[in-house]
Amino acid sequence: MLAILLFLLWFSLPLCNADALSKLLAWDWRPFQGQFGILPMVAGSLLLSFSALLLAFPVSVGICCFAHGMGPAGPAALLMRFVKLMTSVPTVIYGFVGVFVLVPLMREVFRSGSGFSWLAAMIGLAILVLPTIVLMLHSQFMIVEPQVKLTATALGMTPAQRLLHLVVPNSGRGFATALVLGFGRALGDTMIPLMLAGNAPQVPGSVFDSIRAMTAHIALVVATDSQSLAYLSLFACGLILFLSSTLVNLGLQWLGRPDGRKE
């Protein structure tokens, strides 16, 4: 971790003067007109990963509740097996299916833009992070459940009541960890934004607009003239990606701590 941070810092050093910095921290990416602003990509990454999390988190919580007492045992086990299977699908496969199915569907249904959009990438990313969140919550529930099972049964609680009143309130740390991991995956994924989001370096006006994530930006620009500021801007993007995922990580760990102590 530290080595990566040092490496990124070392390569970002040439950027550490007011002139280059002001060029990078701008809202226009037009490398051939000498504008190297990476802020649209920063915004793109954050918008994409937060919106994907917003979509995936409630669904994941629902799946987990279904599997832990709200639903019948047979379908619940089947659902969990399916989610576990989802973890093994490479992200490029989601991207590929997205290009052939999701993007044309978006274009036909919403009749706005080309289909390569924030919405398409958001759905792709939500599907990608879903199993991560579900499995994290699942393992937390698995720890809490045995602790309260005897008491709950003695009190005459149904499995659903036990889940809602005892398991969920005692799994705060699990929720936090699931969010962190989900966010990290969504922020760090490259193939899905690259293949589905359209990659226009702009701040989207709506979810049907094309958007470019920092990861996709790095993938697109990395082969460019290595003596240019465009190339150097990649290290700034890398640094921002690294720092933001670390910050969110630390922040949520800090949030999750009191709950962890209670246990």
């Binding site: 082969a223 460019t224 240019s228």
Partner: protein
Amino acid sequence: MKRMFFPFCLALIGLAFCCQAAFAGDLDAFAGKEGTISIAGGTAHIPVMKDAAKAIMTANPAIRITIAGGGSGVGIQKVGEGLVNIGNSGRKASDAEVSKYGLVMFPFAVDGVATVVHADNPVQGLTGDQVRAIFAGEVSNWKEVGGNDGAINVYARDESSGTRDVFWKKLLKKGTVVTSANVVPSNGAMKLAVSKDPNAIGYVSIGHLDGSVKAPALDGVVVNQEAAKSGQYPVVRKLYMNTKGQPEGIVKSFVEYITGPDCVEYIKSAGYIPF
């Protein structure tokens, strides 16, 4: 039938001899030598490199040639850092790159870049001004240029693309490209995106043109390699091999072989025009 067969065989044998004689000329340079040549970079170059490598390695098994892709930018970086002997690029190396790495460029073929639209798009031709206006975002509906009523979806290539470089310089005259344009990372991805989107406009290397997309005529000139060769179609680029300093030994022989008469057929069959 039998009487036909004998002259046919003779002709075939004669042809085989001719070919051998022709090949012997340039491949002689490799006779008795050994070593490896590593090549990386532009994906457009690969078919030509592969054919040449096959011929050389068949004639002299002591020589090993490895070919990798990566794109024009990667080719220049790799050869500049000394990781490969030859770095291919579909664009001229920039002055900064040439002076930093001491690159020597060897152009060997010419490739055209075509504007493409969806196969069902009724637009048969566009003028250069129309293409520029579309990419700049000034024209945003197909009916303004004689097509159906539908918002135009512009597709562009990434900054490191050699295809983008020539399209932007030769056809867009370094004009602006609307920022809402979708960006795709390769010729293949461009073809896929445009072939699926009825309102798309984009651009691909002429070597990649097939039935899945349509190339409308530009200023009345039908877009194909013949028009590019005759100079009628102006949006063309050169394909380069780059070496760090003047090449020596078998690398020099390889560069001479590619630019020599034997490779003309390989270049043509890959869909390019020999330089």
